[in-house]
Every structure is written in structure tokens, then in C-alpha cells.
């Protein structure tokens, strides 16, 4: 036996692996601990949602959108119903628009909390994980009292909202917003400010701006690479043009910036919700839409700023009650392309951290 022969170690991580989010699998080629090649394998959660849409009516498809990015389900509802409304030319009531913004931004906060928690967990910060999930619980309670479900909220309908928030919703929302600075301080103290965590994340997994643009990266991952681009500002959909908020941008291009930019976004979301609470008018929450939704023949592409990247819906209608084609452009599916490119050459534990900062939700990646 010769000892001067070296061999690559091919390691199969996932779909059952403690650090893989959902059912992600990657085949990692290792040289010692250094990663030479990564092949992501997805599809373990593929449910064929695009195919399902073709045999469901427009309204019946709304609950399925919950199951895309299940950590921010109001956002998926929102993107879908807005696309259908754009196709049909429906104007929805003011109050419903404000409620949608409130729910969407709450979903953004909840999603970012999960992202911070899971990134902390992937670098073994167990307690930080608990704190972020504790605070997310309050948002879920708010969903629950309004729409009746905690995860797959299904709170929007074509033409408005499914339900008016109950009276106890508003104080709960106010107290949550009041507590956010304290929460963020706590996350910072236990996770971002920790030198060990900074060592794990800073200058790891550099994704330069040019690469990010070329790879069609969107969302916070793009903004952490120094591109100031947010659909809410660039193409204000819904009523985002009425709010005063900033688009946080970071220039580090590394794992740390991809993580901490979510903290900045939570701050901006709180700002938006406060303005929405101030301005929300009284009125109906449902526009007059026909009972049977039958959009005219045509096609429309609409995108919204999902917490994890841009979510786009491309709907082709043939004039019947069922869509001819629903194309879902999931943000994290496209963002995932950076992993094999960026993570090459790093240690195996850095790959885990880089993957965590992508904030991939396999419900959205696999559709």
C-alpha cells in the first residue's frame, strides 16, 4: 500500500443532516477540511406547485402559496393576489392595502428573526436561536388572532384581506414594536457582537458585487454585496411609495454582512409598520370582486420584495377560471446558485455558515 497517494473525500451532506435547512442536500468534495467542489442537490421537497396551480381555480391556489416560503407566508399570498389583481385590474380598498403592508412587514420581521436564529444555530449559538424564536412567537400570535393560523397564514384574498384584525391585535402590535429595539440589542449582544461569531462570519464567503449581479441574486444577499436595490423602492408596488424608509445596504460582501443586514431591515420594517398604523384609514377590507374569478386573456409578471429575495409570479390566463400557467420565481432558488461558487475553497464549517446566510427555505427552493 502506497501512502503517497491522496484522494478526495466525497461527503454527502443532507437531506438528513443537522445543519441542512429543510431537505437540502449537497455533495461536498473535500481536500482535508477544505472544500474543493460543491454540488447542491435539490428537489426533495418538490411538490409541483406550478402544476397544481393549473388544476386549481385562482382562489383555491392561495393556500398553496403559503407553502412556498413558509416562514413568510403573508408575503407569498401578497405576491400572488397582487399578480391576479393586476391581471384583472382590480383596485383594492385603502384599508386592505395598509393591512397588507402591516402583515407583510410583520412577516419580514419574523422571517429575518428565523434567519438570525438559524444562522446562530448553524454556528452553534443555541441560546441566540431560542431568543429569536421566542420573539417570533409574538408575531405568530398576531397572525393567529387575525387569520386563524400561525404558519400558513392564508390571510389575503383576491381583492383584499380575509379578515379584519380583532381589537386585541393593535395593542399586541404596538407592544411588539416597542420591544423590538430591546430584542435587536439582545440579538446583537449574544450573537453579532460576539467575537467568536464575528470570527466565524467576517471575511468568509466573499461574493463581489459583479458576481452577485451576474448571478441574478436578489434580496438582502444582494444588498449585502453593496447594491442598493429594493423592489419596494425601485418599483413601488402596493402603497410602498407612501412610506418613508431606507434601503439598508452593506458593503462587506461577506457572511457577516449578509446576516447583520437583516437586523437593519427589521429596523426599517418597524418604521414602515409604525407609519402604517398612523395612517391606516377606516373602511372596507374587501373590494367588490366577482364570486368566480375569471381574469381576461393575458399575461402578467409581478414581483415583490420577499424577505429572502424577490418573489415573482408570472401568470398566463386563457380566460377560464383556472390559470393556464403559473410561474413562480423563487428568490432563494436563484440565490442558491452562489453557494457552489462562493463556498469553494472554504472549510466545511464555513460552507455551513455561508449556506445559513443565504437563508434558503426549501419550500420555496423546491416549490
Amino acid at each position: 500500500m502506497s501512502i503517497d497517494k491522496t484522494e478526495e473525500l466525497v461527503l454527502n451532506m443532507g437531506p438528513q443532516h443537522p445543519s441542512m435547512h429543510g431537505l437540502f442536500r449537497m455533495i461536498v468534495h473535500l481536500e482535508g477540511e477544505t472544500v474543493t467542489e460543491i454540488e447542491p442537490k435539490i428537489g426533495y421537497l418538490h411538490r409541483g406547485i406550478e402544476k397544481l396551480a393549473e388544476s386549481r381555480t385562482y382562489t383555491q391556489f392561495i393556500p398553496y402559496t403559503d407553502r412556498l416560503d413558509y416562514l413568510a407566508s403573508p408575503h407569498n399570498n401578497w405576491a400572488y393576489v397582487q399578480t391576479v389583481e393586476k391581471l384583472m385590474g382590480v383596485e383594492i380598498p385603502e384599508r386592505a392595502e395598509y393591512l397588507r403592508v402591516i402583515f407583510g412587514e410583520l412577516a419580514r420581521i419574523a422571517s429575518h428573526q428565523v434567519m438570525i436564529a438559524s444562522t446562530a444555530l448553524d454556528i452553534a449559538g443555541w441560546t441566540a436561536w431560542g431568543y429569536a424564536f421566542r420573539d417570533r412567537e409574538r408575531i405568530l400570535d398576531m397572525y393567529e388572532m387575525t387569520a386563524g393560523s400561525r404558519l400558513t397564514v392564508n390571510c389575503m384574498r383576491i381583492g383584499g384581506m380575509s379578515a379584519e384584525p380583532p381589537a386585541e391585535f393593535w395593542p399586541a402590535l404596538e407592544s411588539f414594536l416597542d420591544d423590538t429595539p430591546e430584542m435587536l440589542e439582545e440579538y446583537y449582544g449574544i450573537f453579532f457582537g460576539n467575537e467568536i461569531a464575528q470570527g466565524r462570519l467576517k471575511n468568509v464567503g466573499i461574493m463581489p458585487k459583479e458576481l452577485a449581479e451576474n448571478l441574478s441574486i436578489t434580496g438582502p444577499v444582494l444588498r449585502a454585496s453593496g447594491v442598493q436595490y429594493d423592489v419596494r423602492k425601485a418599483y413601488p408596488y402596493s402603497i410602498y411609495d407612501r412610506f418613508d424608509f431606507d434601503v439598508p445596504v452593506r458593503y462587506g460582501c461577506d457572511s457577516y454582512d449578509r446576516t447583520i443586514i437583516r437586523m437593519d431591515e427589521i429596523k426599517e420594517s418597524v418604521k414602515i409598520i409604525r407609519q402604517a398604523i398612523r395612517d391606516i384609514p377606516e373602511g372596507p377590507i374587501m373590494a367588490k370582486v366577482p364570486k368566480v374569478i375569471k381574469p381576461p386573456v393575458g399575461e402578467v409578471y409581478h414581483r415583490v420584495e420577499n424577505p429572502k429575495g424577490e418573489l415573482g409570479f408570472y401568470i398566463v390566463s386563457d380566460g377560464s377560471t383556472k390559470p393556464a400557467r403559473v410561474r413562480i420565481r423563487p428568490g432563494t432558488f436563484v440565490n442558491l446558485q452562489m453557494l457552489p461558487i462562493v463556498a469553494k475553497g472554504w472549510k466545511i464549517q464555513d460552507v455551513v455558515a455561508i449556506f445559513a446566510t443565504l437563508d434558503a427555505v426549501l419550500g420555496e427552493v423546491d416549490k
Binding site: 391556489f61 398553496y64 441560546t127 393567529e144 380575509s162 449582544g189 457582537g193 467575537e195
Partner: protein, 134 residues
């Protein structure tokens, strides 16, 4: 200074260690869910007019119901009402479609069963059983 963050973290965890905890003692203390929670469905048989709106609203074909015409009152009466919970998304579209609010969401959340066949709910039998218990 290097190490400041470490001590800050230790301080936070120590504060939480001596502070109160927020564990819910679930089987001993059952949470009271808000009245909109869609954790199971309940049927009031006498309100149902067998219009089939719920079955048509359902994205997954969970609901199967049959009705027959009552000779005296000339109204359709519910004969059978089955839900296949194994395919239910708990989206609540059926309850929204119901014109008489015969089908409503209920807050029973302990729906776990041992056999797959137990997921096929006979809603009329459930309603009667609930009537007896309550």
C-alpha cells in the same frame, strides 16, 4: 476591546438564567386559542342547505357530501358529509364559502390519530357526538 462581546454575551445569558422562564406547560395547562383558529371544522347539520359550495371551494377535494330532498318541507337535507383530513390544508376556504355558516372552524387542536382511516371524518357523527358531550 477584544473580548467585550464575549462578556456581554455572558451577561445576557446570566440575566436570562436568573430571570423568569416562559415555558408553556402544555398537557397540564391547555392554551385557549383565539376563536378564529382553523384547527378543525365543525358542522351544524340543521343549518346546512346542501349547496355544495364548500366542496367546490376546497382546493383539494376534501369534502364529499350528499343530500336528499325532504318531501314535506321541499328543502334539501344533508344525508352524509365526509371530510378526508389527510388531504386537508386547513385553509378555511370552505368555511368562508358556506352561505349559512353551517360549516365553521373550531378550536379543537388535538387531532392526532393512530390509524390513517381515522382521518376520514364523518362530520355528522362528529357533530352528534359533540352534542352529546357538550
Amino acid at each position: 476591546m477584544f473580548g467585550k462581546g464575549l462578556f456581554q454575551g455572558l451577561g445576557i445569558t446570566f440575566k436570562r438564567m436568573v430571570g423568569p422562564n416562559i415555558t408553556e406547560f402544555y398537557p397540564e395547562q391547555k392554551p385557549v386559542l383565539p376563536s378564529r383558529v382553523r384547527s378543525s371544522m365543525g358542522l351544524q347539520r340543521e343549518k346546512c342547505i346542501c349547496c355544495n359550495m364548500c366542496a367546490m371551494a376546497c382546493p383539494n377535494g376534501v369534502i364529499k357530501l350528499t343530500g336528499e330532498k325532504d318531501e314535506e318541507s321541499k328543502k334539501r337535507v344533508l344525508k352524509s358529509y365526509h371530510m378526508d383530513l389527510g388531504r386537508c390544508l386547513f385553509c378555511g376556504l370552505c368555511t368562508e364559502a358556506c352561505p349559512t355558516k353551517a360549516l365553521t372552524v373550531t378550536q379543537e387542536y388535538e387531532n392526532a390519530v393512530f390509524e390513517a382511516d381515522d382521518m376520514k371524518w364523518d362530520m355528522i357523527a362528529r357533530a352528534e357526538r359533540k352534542g352529546k358531550e357538550g
